[in-house]
Subunit: 252 residues, 2 copies
């Protein structure tokens, strides 16, 4: 039986949209989801604006098994993710007693003031669970199927490591890559025919343009090893046939 | 007078969502938009699925001044962008006579077959204008406020260079960065007060976590140099005040 589990990601932050910061979290989440058998189906990058965050959260949490957000959970005025997620779920955003006590004790032990700004990081939607932050303490949180994590890549990655074991996963998409020395214009026709004959696979063609020549990586993906191998064999045989024809056409 | 011109981007491709390919186009578009005075307000990464592409195109073209897409305009079966954009606009997707003739002549001059797959790249929505492709000939296209470009970064960048001079631009957001040796927990409170006093600016706080310590880049953005300088001076003075207080508190 094939189980399909889906996910979407929301990257929150003006700094990504202005180009000031280059996102490093999308590729990491994509890699992890693929590795554990969850299909990442959509990513949205939205600005630090409550209406936009609420709209994206509500659209995506209704459509996919899981939603993951990054960014906007720090202590400054532009960190509005906790408020926005609360609004999306229609619950109050308030100090979480466990997070508040933990952070208060931690700052006290370091003789640092537990400022109003730092207290902001203990706010979350009522009813949310913590996502532990082993790097810098202030937790992320989960409410419903939405997982809210930090934007700083090292903290996001550590939080995600804590989330992964809690997720239901599906049948993994396995894949195989066939390197092809021809451009897509040469292989497009026969490759499309192979895709039609193997509807239980996803055949992708990824051109690389190097030194004025196109080459192609042909990637077959499937949830069943048998389906994968059947399509792979046809793709490999197509590439071998074209290579032989090209060799025969070359003047001696 | 302040003119605001907005944009959204749609990145089309399963390979980005699976993690196989790491996107390099979002950051580039963000940089260019900021440089020319267009506010990139949203990015969506969607799979190679017609319904998803159509929904994203129609949602975003109604909301923003411009939409830019990357990916899915090659010659293989998984390149469905031209069909999807046509469907979004409710017009036929057909061979563009100018593109067809140009490509036919080019392949003939290189003694290469103008295969059915290659002919696919001459298809576009009826009524679309070309976006020239100086790298590998097959053009992108513009229909309405939607600009459809290649996913291969070198080709995307070359196409975008051809698009930029055709765009209406707004009053640029100018910015200044103040480096701050304190974490967000220390500066969050006073920074929020400064933001409140300067509503015509956008003050962002970007934490960096290095060697176990948080530092922060404080970025003030505004469309007016005067507003920018007023807020910048207050932020700089706040940071200087905190540094002095920290020095005074240190044991002699």
């Amino acid at each position: 039986m094939t189980d399909i589990v889906t996910a979407a990601m929301i990257v929150i932050g003006d700094e990504i949209l202005s180009g000031r910061t280059k996102d490093k979290n999308i590729g990491h989440l994509a890699d992890i989801m693929t590795a554990i058998g969850i299909d990442l189906k959509e990513v949205r990058i939205v600005p630090d604006e409550e209406d936009e965050i609420v709209a994206a959260v509500n659209a995506l949490r209704a459509k996919y098994t899981y939603v993951f957000t990054t960014g906007g959970i720090g202590p400054t005025h532009d960190d509005i993710t906790a408020d926005s997620i609360s609004k999306a779920f229609g619950v109050p955003c308030e100090y979480d007693p466990k997070a508040y006590a933990m952070m208060e004790a931690n700052y006290a032990s370091r003789s640092m003031e537990f400022t109003e700004a730092r207290k902001r990081m203990a706010r979350m939607p009522r009813g949310a669970d913590h996502i532990a932050n082993p790097v810098s303490l202030a937790p992320g949180f989960r409410i419903g199927n939405v997982h809210v994590m930090a934007g700083v890549p090292s903290i996001f990655q550590a939080m995600l490591d804590n989330v992964v074991p809690t997720l239901k996963t599906g049948t993994k998409l396995i894949s195989v890559t066939i390197e092809c020395p021809f451009g897509e214009g040469t292989i497009g026709g026969p490759l499309g025919e192979i895709q039609k004959r193997h509807p239980d696979t996803i055949i992708g063609s990824y051109p690389k343009y190097l030194d004025g020549t196109f080459r192609t990586d042909l990637v077959v993906r499937a949830r069943s090893p048998k389906a994968l191998e059947a399509a792979r064999a046809e793709v490999a045989s197509m590439v071998a046939g074209l290579a032989e024809a090209a060799k025969a056409a070359r003047p001696a």
